[in-house]
Each structure stands twice: as structure tokens, then as C-alpha cells.
């Protein structure tokens, strides 16, 4: 190896040239840098220190152009730098030069980094004779820095991508960092807030109270305490959100607080959801409490876990006295489904319309009819409890029974009325001289039956007043002046069977009076007097005055038959019919020692 360097020439006043060269060569060879000298346009190598021996390349680099001697370091950029130094005499530096170097000929290249300085080499006249090259390997430092950069980048990305708001404060409350989430939520840029007091920043400045609170919290954190509270902050567009806010001091080894980490998450939606949930729960509770249907829930051990007021009222036992107990423990003599939980488990079906007759404390000494529905309360497909609805149908059943009775009663009345119609029709047939008379009489009598029917229906088939029946039958023949018929005396309540026969009998009397009697001529009139004893008819007088002279009929008509037989039979009375010169007189005398039969 030969060297032609100036330092070697400058040192020769102390040491011999040889010694100097040997020492310099030794120093250069152990220097922690690749050192080489280059001359000529192709920058051929005139010197390179021993460190180059660890690099690939030709064994003897001396005299060879840069591209051959050190191909890894002969990229176009480096060559250009060499050219520039040579041309201008100005030093050049590549602070971080990546170089691909294979660790061994058969191994793939790896990138190593060098800081390379190129300086002009000048002769004694200052002319540029070549280029000096110093390349310090900085691979480890670059790797360490890249690793640190990556770590920092990851941290930044992490911070910025957090859904949480994160930043950093000095202990006096100056904001030194804020993540992207916090900034973008409020539409801020870092320069808007970094370096300012945290409480003066947009998030907090809307409210003095919240600023005061924050100042106190920062002061507390600066003393080493973690502070956490829910706060309202302002975000983009002037909107407000609620945050779960926390200040955590970073405490150093000496106990001092070096910085404070503020962080927060937006809980506005969570609060809104909680409010919605609270509202929904309140609605469900009110629904449960206010429904008129008894509702309750049994756990899987058949113990009451919920009981609504309607349910409690059904049994006359406060809802709270049910909880945790089994049905039989609450109402020992009550009748309950033996085990709805087991049945629903077995069948997988709700139990609907389960009816029991049971005593309940709400109605001592009474049996109530309760209809139950049991249904599974499932959460996530798993039965957690059994719901139960119960309705007291006792009154409803009684009403239904009454209804059924009424219908049966109506049926009976219709049949009886038809039987009466049948009998009236046969009597009419027996007493009619021809078909035309039969039809006319029958029509009139059916109409009379219908009027009695109406009279009965008006008072719900409880009976009717005698004078009402009389007016019903006779008033159609007294429609002019209303003074031809007078009714005096008492009034009597008749039972339904009596109403029918009285109605018909009165119809016959009225019809006869209108056809042949007092009401068939001008000036004729009818006087009716009624006397009652102990609420029952004792005497009825039907007296026609001013009519044509009448004689006893030769043949007994239906009217006479009714008067004689029916009224007599109904009232246990004697009926006297007299045919006087100016009109008919009928006297009904009830037996004094007997009540009218019912």
C-alpha cells in the first residue's frame, strides 16, 4: 500500500518519513470510517484504508476507477457529487446515504447507511488534485432513529385514531398536545389551541363555570391527584356534548408532576340512550301498574317476582307481600295452577284460559272465577320467568248466566204466547159462523194479544196495571172526545198470565160495545169502576149506558166465554153478566177470602 498525503508530509519534522507514514497508515486503518483518496475524472482510487477490506469488491482497489473499486458507492448521485467536488472545490456531504451491500458474495444485499463527506484534495499550490472521501457508517443509528420514528408514528396514529379525546398539559394547564379526535370534534387546528391554557380553549370557553371547574381540576391534578367528572363541552357548530372527563398526572421518580394527560369520551349518546331506556322502563312500569288486568311474574322456582296493583287487588293482598313467596304461601286456601313453570317447560307453549274457582281474601266467603294465562318470559331464547295474567270473570259469568236465563225465559214466553194464540185461534174457530168472521175476529184478537205483549214488554214482563190494559183496549173506540169512557176507583197490578187473559177479555168487551153496545150509538158511554183489596182486584164493574137495548145472546160467544170462564178462573171470581135495557153490565166479584192466583 502506498500513500501520498499532505498530513504525512506535514509531520516529517518530528519523525522520519517512513515512521510517519507507517503511523499515519496505522491510524487511518483503525479509524472508524471508510477513508479513501481519488484522482482523475473517473475518481480512481489512490488510497483506501483497511476498513474497506470488510466490504465486497475487488481485492486490490488501488488504481481502479470508483465504479470498479467500490461499485456499491458508485451510484449516479455519488458520482455526480464526486464530479462537483472536483470541479468546484467545495466539500459535499451525504448525511444519510443508503448503500446496498451484500454481507458475502452469495448472500443478498442489505442496506447500510453511511454519512459520507467528500472534500477536495489540493496540492501545494491549492489546485484540486482529487477528492478525499470519509464515510462513517451510521446504520445502527439510522435503524434506531427509524424505530423511534415508527414508534412515535404509531403512537400518534393511535392517539389520533382513538375515539377518545386525548391531549397533554403542562402542570400549569397549558395545552401541549391534543389528538386529532379532540381537534376535529371541535373543528380546531392544533395552532388554535396548542400553547394556550386548556380552559381558554374552544371546548371550555363557552362557560365560566366549566372553566372554573376545569382550573380547579387541573390544579388538583398538578398536585398528583387523578380527577374525573362528567363535563359539558362545546364542539363544532356550537353543539354541546357531555364527556366522561379525566385528568391523570404523570408523576416522575422524584414525585413531581411533569405533565397532565387529559382524556375524555363522548357519553352524550350513552346518556341519551340511558334516558331513553329510563323513559321506556318508566312507560313499561306505568303500563304494568295501570292496566286493569292482573299481571304478575313468577321466577323459575315459582316465586312471585313482580305483581301489579290490579293483580294485588284481585287477591286483596298488597303487591309487596307477594314478592319472594309462592302463590300458596300468599293465599293458603287459594286454588292455583299446580306448576305452570314445569308445564311450559314441558310443552313449550303458553297456558291460555286456565280457569279456577277459588276463594280470595278480597272477597271473604265467596268463590271467584279467575281465568289465567301463563306465558314464558324469554330473554335471548332462554326462559327466565313465567308471566301470568289473570282476570276475575265472576261478574261476567253471572251476566252470561243471566243472559242465558233471559234467553230461555224469552223462549218460554214466545212458546206460551204461541200456545195462547193457538188456543185463541181454536176458540175463535169454534165460535165463528163463517170463514170471513173467523178471519176478522182472529185478526182483532191477535192484535189484542200483541198489545198485551207490548204492555208486558214495557215493564220487562213483570206485569201491568189493569187501567193501562183497559185504556189500551177501549181508547181506540173513544178517539173523538175522550169523554165516553170513564174509569174510576183503584188500580191493580196484574201478573203476566193475567195480563194476557184480561187483555183479551177487555178486548172482547170493548169490541162488543163498539159493534153492538153503548159505543155503537151517539150519546152512549161506558163507566168502569175498580175496587182493590190488599193490592188485588176485588170488584170490577163494566157498565154501558145509553146504548141500544140489548138481549142475552142465544149463543155463547168467545167474549162471554172469556168473561165467564177466564176471568172467573183467573181471579177466583164470580162474573155476572146482565143485559139491561140501556146496556150491558158486567160485574166481577173476586172471592173475598182468596187472593188472585199468581
Amino acid at each position: 500500500m502506498t500513500m501520498t498525503t499532505r498530513p504525512a508530509q506535514d509531520a516529517d519534522h518530528c519523525l522520519s518519513d517512513h515512521e510517519t507514514r507507517a503511523r499515519l497508515a496505522g491510524i487511518l486503518d483503525t479509524a472508524p470510517a471508510l477513508i479513501s483518496l481519488h484522482e482523475g475524472k473517473d475518481h480512481r482510487v489512490t488510497y483506501c484504508n483497511a476498513l474497506h477490506d470488510h466490504l465486497p469488491g475487488p481485492a486490490d482497489r488501488l488504481g481502479k476507477p470508483l465504479v470498479e473499486a467500490m461499485p456499491e458507492f458508485a451510484t449516479p448521485e455519488i458520482l455526480a457529487q464526486f464530479d462537483r467536488v472536483r470541479a468546484t472545490g467545495e466539500a459535499a456531504e451525504a448525511t444519510e446515504l443508503p448503500v446496498e451491500i451484500a454481507p458475502a458474495p452469495d448472500r443478498p444485499a442489505v442496506i447500510r447507511h453511511f454519512r459520507q463527506v467528500l472534500q477536495p484534495d489540493r496540492d501545494e499550490q491549492g489546485r484540486i488534485t482529487g477528492v478525499m472521501r470519509f464515510a462513517f457508517e451510521i446504520t445502527d443509528e439510522v435503524a434506531a432513529r427509524q424505530s423511534a420514528d415508527r414508534a412515535r408514528n404509531r403512537l400518534q396514529t393511535l392517539q389520533d385514531s382513538l375515539a377518545a379525546f386525548v391531549g397533554m398539559l403542562t402542570p400549569d394547564g397549558t395545552l401541549t398536545e391534543a389528538n386529532e379526535t379532540a381537534l376535529s370534534a371541535a373543528g380546531l387546528k392544533p395552532e388554535d389551541v396548542i400553547g394556550r391554557k386548556f380552559w381558554d380553549a374552544y371546548w371550555w370557553s363557552w362557560s365560566e363555570d366549566s372553566q372554573t371547574r376545569l382550573k380547579a381540576a387541573v390544579a388538583e391534578a398538578a398536585r398528583g391527584e387523578t380527577v374525573r367528572y362528567d363535563a359539558e363541552v362545546r364542539v363544532a357548530g356550537g353543539a354541546h356534548i357531555v364527556i366522561d372527563f379525566q385528568l391523570v398526572p404523570v408523576i416522575e421518580a422524584d414525585g413531581s408532576v411533569s405533565c397532565i394527560i387529559p382524556s375524555a369520551i363522548d357519553i352524550t349518546q350513552r346518556l341519551a340512550a340511558e334516558e331513553q331506556l329510563r323513559e321506556a322502563l318508566a312507560q313499561h312500569q306505568a303500563f304494568f301498574d295501570n292496566t286493569p288486568v292482573g299481571l304478575a311474574m313468577l321466577d323459575l322456582e315459582r316465586r312471585w317476582i313482580r305483581v301489579n296493583p290490579a293483580f294485588a287487588a284481585l287477591f286483596g293482598i298488597p303487591a309487596c307481600d307477594h314478592i319472594g313467596k309462592r302463590p300458596q304461601e300468599v293465599v293458603p286456601d287459594g286454588v292455583f295452577h299446580p306448576d305452570p313453570v314445569a308445564e311450559i317447560r314441558r310443552t313449550g307453549q303458553p297456558i291460555l284460559g286456565y280457569e279456577v274457582r277459588t276463594p280470595t281474601p278480597a272477597f271473604p266467603g265467596q268463590e271467584r272465577i279467575l281465568v289465567h294465562n301463563f306465558f314464558p318470559i324469554e330473554v335471548d331464547g332462554e326462559m327466565r320467568a313465567v308471566g301470568k295474567s289473570v282476570q276475575d270473570v265472576t261478574e261476567q259469568r253471572a251476566a252470561e248466566d243471566r243472559q242465558a236465563l233471559l234467553i230461555a225465559e224469552l223462549q218460554h214466553r214466545v212458546k206460551n204466547t204461541l200456545a195462547t194464540v193457538q188456543s185463541v185461534a181454536r176458540f175463535t174457530a169454534r165460535h165463528s159462523e163463517d170463514k170471513a168472521a173467523l178471519v176478522a175476529s182472529l185478526q182483532d184478537r191477535l192484535a189484542a194479544i200483541a198489545r198485551s205483549h207490548d204492555a208486558l214488554t214495557r215493564d220487562n214482563w213483570s206485569g201491568q196495571w189493569l187501567t193501562t190494559l183497559i185504556r189500551n183496549e177501549i181508547m181506540p173506540y173513544d178517539n173523538e172526545t175522550s169523554d165516553r169512557v170513564t174509569i174510576t176507583g183503584d188500580d191493580v197490578r196484574l201478573n203476566p198470565a193475567q195480563v194476557m187473559s184480561f187483555g183479551l177479555a177487555l178486548h172482547e168487551l170493548a169490541t162488543n160495545a163498539a159493534k153492538y153496545g153503548a159505543l155503537s150509538v151517539d150519546g152512549g158511554r161506558v163507566e168502569i169502576s175498580i175496587r182493590a183489596a190488599r193490592g188485588a182486584l176485588s170488584r170490577l164493574v163494566w157498565k154501558e149506558i145509553g146504548g141500544p137495548s140489548v138481549e142475552a145472546p142465544t149463543r155463547t160467544g168467545f167474549g162471554s166465554f172469556l168473561l165467564d170462564k177466564v176471568l172467573g178462573a183467573e181471579l177466583g171470581a164470580t162474573v155476572t153478566t146482565e143485559f139491561e135495557s140501556d146496556g150491558l153490565r158486567v160485574v166481577v166479584n173476586a172471592a173475598s177470602d182468596r187472593q188472585a192466583p199468581t
Partner: protein
């Protein structure tokens, strides 16, 4: 014409009772009654047992002809008349040997029964 019989008739509806009686009499039988109350019919039965009896089941309010039927049961055949289709089943069950006809009734059925007993 069958053998004349003494037929007791009980119906609270006077016109119907009269009609029944007249119908039966026209067939040549003797009618006892017609009665409109349980008491009157019971008195008549205790005086003399009829050959047979035609009894309206329901006699108004909550009364039935059951006490009369009880006196007749085993002594004279009974024919119940009822406007009820099913409600009379209790009394029918009580006197399983009794015949029954619905109201309004067919006179032929009534007279056939009187003739047959």
C-alpha cells in the same frame, strides 16, 4: 173413540187451559179442572186420582207442576207440556216415566197420548 178417561188438566194460562179442556172433552173424555194453580190441582188429586194428567211444567214465577206430578207418580200417567226446549230437563229426569210434548202443541199428539194411556 177410545175408552173415556178422567183427565186432569193444569195450565196457568187460562185460555190455554180452557182450550185443552175443551179439546179433550170434545173427544169424549172427562176433564178434571182445568186448574191454573198447583194448590187447586193438588186438592183435586187428593180428592180423587185421575186416569191421567196433562201438566204444564212452568206455572209462572218460579213455580212448576212438580208437586202435582209427585202425587200422581206411580198412580196415573203424566204428560208434561213445556215451552222450554231444555230447561225442563230437570223435572223430566225426575219423572222418567212421564211423556212430554212441546208448546205450542199438536192436538193430535195430545189426544193420541190420552187414548194410549
Amino acid at each position: 173413540m177410545s175408552t173415556p178417561k178422567r183427565v186432569l188438566v193444569l195450565d196457568d194460562e187460562v185460555i190455554v187451559a180452557m182450550d185443552l179442556a175443551q179439546t179433550i172433552e170434545e173427544e169424549g173424555h172427562a176433564v178434571i179442572g182445568p186448574f191454573h194453580t198447583v194448590e187447586a190441582a193438588m186438592r183435586a188429586v187428593s180428592d180423587a186420582m185421575p186416569d191421567c194428567a196433562v201438566l204444564d211444567v212452568n206455572l209462572g214465577e218460579s213455580l212448576t207442576s212438580e208437586p202435582v206430578a209427585a202425587m200422581l207418580d206411580g198412580h196415573a200417567p203424566i204428560l208434561f207440556l213445556s215451552g222450554y226446549e231444555y230447561a225442563g230437563s230437570e223435572i223430566f229426569a225426575r219423572f222418567p216415566g212421564a211423556a212430554r210434548l212441546p208448546k205450542p202443541l199438536s192436538l193430535d199428539d195430545l189426544l193420541d197420548w190420552v187414548r194410549s194411556v
